[in-house]
């Protein structure tokens, strides 16, 4: 006799403990196995693109660092590069170097947060998260020195950065450059060969290279599936052209590779910061740009490699002080396209692992 089992539908609701921000997933379960998944967004939609149409170009900077609230420097950098390409502004070298230093520090912070919460979803009760947050605090203190705020930094302006780094910035920056590699060794010793972590993440949620490209995923998700594509290498902006660093590439595109790619990327960012420490020239940090400046009529698209993937801004200017249209290509939203395909057939405990390894930030998805 066959026992009639009917699947139950549960809501991993917007206030679930382990969704990163407010993300709702309507999951149909047959026992433990996931049968159907339907993501529901929009809980954090603040209408950034509509707001941007009523703000001047400099005021939008404060809007951008509230999009992906874990990597606000990179959002600023993406927006500011797009505006400079639109208006044809040139940026002094020291400004470019300061932007790259701030961007790479923010990438380290974002990857630390991603790894910490990934382990938290796996059940390691807070210890790796606390270690990552302890290191994040040191970098946030650097941001406070640099621009006065820790998270919503709005440090960059069209034409460069708004103010040069204070004198006591450089010694503590040097201290972090020396202390972080030891911490990375410690985190790798804690996590990389941990058998339970291997069982829980190896071979779970595999994204094939072909479907990674078809679904236009970007950032660590794309690189973990074996495609060596990094905008800092393929389309260098600011000073990445004359810095040498590597890109970590995964082989089988599972959750473990995405986790490991982020850890190795932190080490690469440290290499970049080390080179910036030696190469940074002195001089002005910002070219002369009036507050309410009017870029020429036209449109342009520019994108950078943010910690989540390719973050791009498409700006249309009609000659006024505020853009006619400001579209944001958000990597987290597009990285979620293969979510359904990656989740089907796995157990509910794996759902958290796969979703955690995608490292999606709801502020950027819903904008």
């Amino acid at each position: 006799m066959n026992i009639r089992t009917e699947p139950i539908t549960i809501n991993l609701g917007p206030q679930h403990p382990s969704t990163h921000g407010v993300f709702r997933l309507r999951v149909t379960l047959d026992g433990e196995v996931i049968v159907d998944v339907e993501p529901i967004f929009g809980y954090l939609h603040r209408g950034t693109e509509k707001l941007a149409e009523e703000r001047s170009y400099t005021q939008i900077v404060t809007l951008t660092d509230r999009m992906d609230y874990v990597s606000s420097m990179l959002n600023n950098q993406a927006y500011v590069i797009a505006v400079e390409k639109l208006a044809g502004l040139d940026v002094p070298d020291r400004g470019k170097f300061l932007r790259v230093i701030a961007g790479e520090l923010q990438r380290i912070v974002s990857h630390l947060v991603a790894t910490g919460f990934f382990l938290q979803d796996l059940g390691a009760f807070g210890t790796p998260l606390m270690y990552c947050f302890r290191e994040r605090e040191k970098i946030l203190e650097l941001f406070e020195m640099l621009c006065g705020a820790r998270v919503t930094v709005s440090y960059m302006r069209p034409g460069g950065v708004f103010q040069d780094a204070p004198d006591d910035f450089w010694p503590s920056f040097r201290a972090i450059l020396d202390s972080l590699p030891y911490f990375m060794d410690e985190i790798e010793r804690l996590l990389e060969e941990n058998e339970i972590l291997l069982i829980r993440t190896k071979g779970i949620g595999i994204l094939t290279p072909q479907s990674a490209i078809d679904n236009a995923t970007s950032g660590p998700v794309l690189r973990a599936s074996g495609i060596p594509w990094d905008l800092r290498k393929s389309n260098p902006y600011d000073v990445y052209g004359d810095l040498n660093f590597d890109i970590p590439i995964g082989t089988n595109g599972d959750s473990y590779d995405r986790f490991l790619v982020r850890i190795l990327e932190i080490r690469e960012s440290l290499r970049i910061l080390e080179q910036c420490w030696t190469l940074i020239p002195s001089g002005p940090v910002r070219s002369k740009v009036p507050y309410f400046f009017r870029p020429p009529v036209g449109d342009c698209y520019a994108s950078i490699e943010s910690s989540k993937g390719e973050l791009g801004f498409y700006l249309v200017s009609d000659g006024g002080i505020s853009p006619y249209r400001c579209k944001v290509r958000s990597p987290s939203l597009i990285n979620l396209t293969p979510l359904r395909e990656m989740l089907l057939g796995w157990k509910i405990a794996d759902l958290m692992v796969i979703f955690g390894s995608l490292d999606v930030n709801m502020g950027e998805v819903d904008r």
């Binding site: 703000r55 400099t58 005021q59 404060t62 809007l63 210890t127 270690y131 302890r134 605090e137 203190e141 406070e144 020195m145 640099l146 621009c147 006065g148 705020a149 919503t152 709005s154 708004f162 103010q163 040069d164 204070p166 006591d168 410690e186 010793r189 804690l190 996590l191 990389e192 060969e193 941990n194 058998e195 339970i196 972590l197 291997l198 507050y291």
Partner: protein, 186 residues
């Protein structure tokens, strides 16, 4: 390598951290070090410098600065000062981005250095004119390179009077600038 070696290595790392000093501090008793550029929430405002031009109100993305000025009979003449009736900053909606401080042409408005201004009611979160006048003058050095040159640090209680808070009046042009004949090539 035996099977459980990864877990043992992890245990050794946690034990190593167990023996280290905790990295958190007891907040009200001991405080973390803050930096002069910290964007505090109690605004510092110099009445002597402020001409009531309200470019800060115009430039604030959220439009939360309310300035009402009136022709003050005797003082009003071309380019002089308006008489300020109200200068309210609604801290409840402020996001401390500092764009108003950036826009102030006369260095009258500065960000403060405190962050512990919590009130029971939202209406108490509006900074009226009198409070701006009477609040201690410890500006943060955000977007004020001249304060940084004086290595002014608001957290050591140094106050600054209105006269030496401003940018040097004349940007003395260097020789390369002098060479240019037309002003707009400079």
């Amino acid at each position: 390598m035996p099977y459980g070696i990864g877990i043992l290595k992890g245990m050794m790392v946690t034990m190593a951290n167990f023996l280290r000093k905790p990295s958190t501090v007891q907040y009200p008793e001991t405080r973390l070090k803050q930096h002069p550029r910290f964007r505090g929430e109690d605004f510092v405002w110099y009445e002597e410098r402020c001409t009531g031009c309200a470019s800060c109100a115009k430039y604030c993305p959220l439009g939360i600065i309310k300035i009402v000025t009136s022709g003050s009979g005797s003082q009003i003449s071309e380019g002089e000062k308006y008489k300020l009736e109200t200068f309210d900053i609604e801290l409840a909606r402020c996001m401390f981005c500092g764009l108003c401080v950036e826009a102030c042409p006369y260095d009258a408005l500065h960000l403060g250095s405190g962050f512990e201004r919590a009130r029971e009611r939202k209406s108490d979160l509006v900074i009226p004119l009198e409070e701006l006048r009477s609040s201690p003058k410890r500006p943060s050095t955000w977007f004020r390179p001249q304060l940084e040159k004086k290595n002014h640090n608001p957290f050591e209680g140094q106050t600054i009077t209105w006269s030496d808070v401003a940018r040097p009046a004349i940007q003395d042009p260097d020789y390369e600038d002098m060479g240019k004949r037309w002003v707009d090539d400079r």
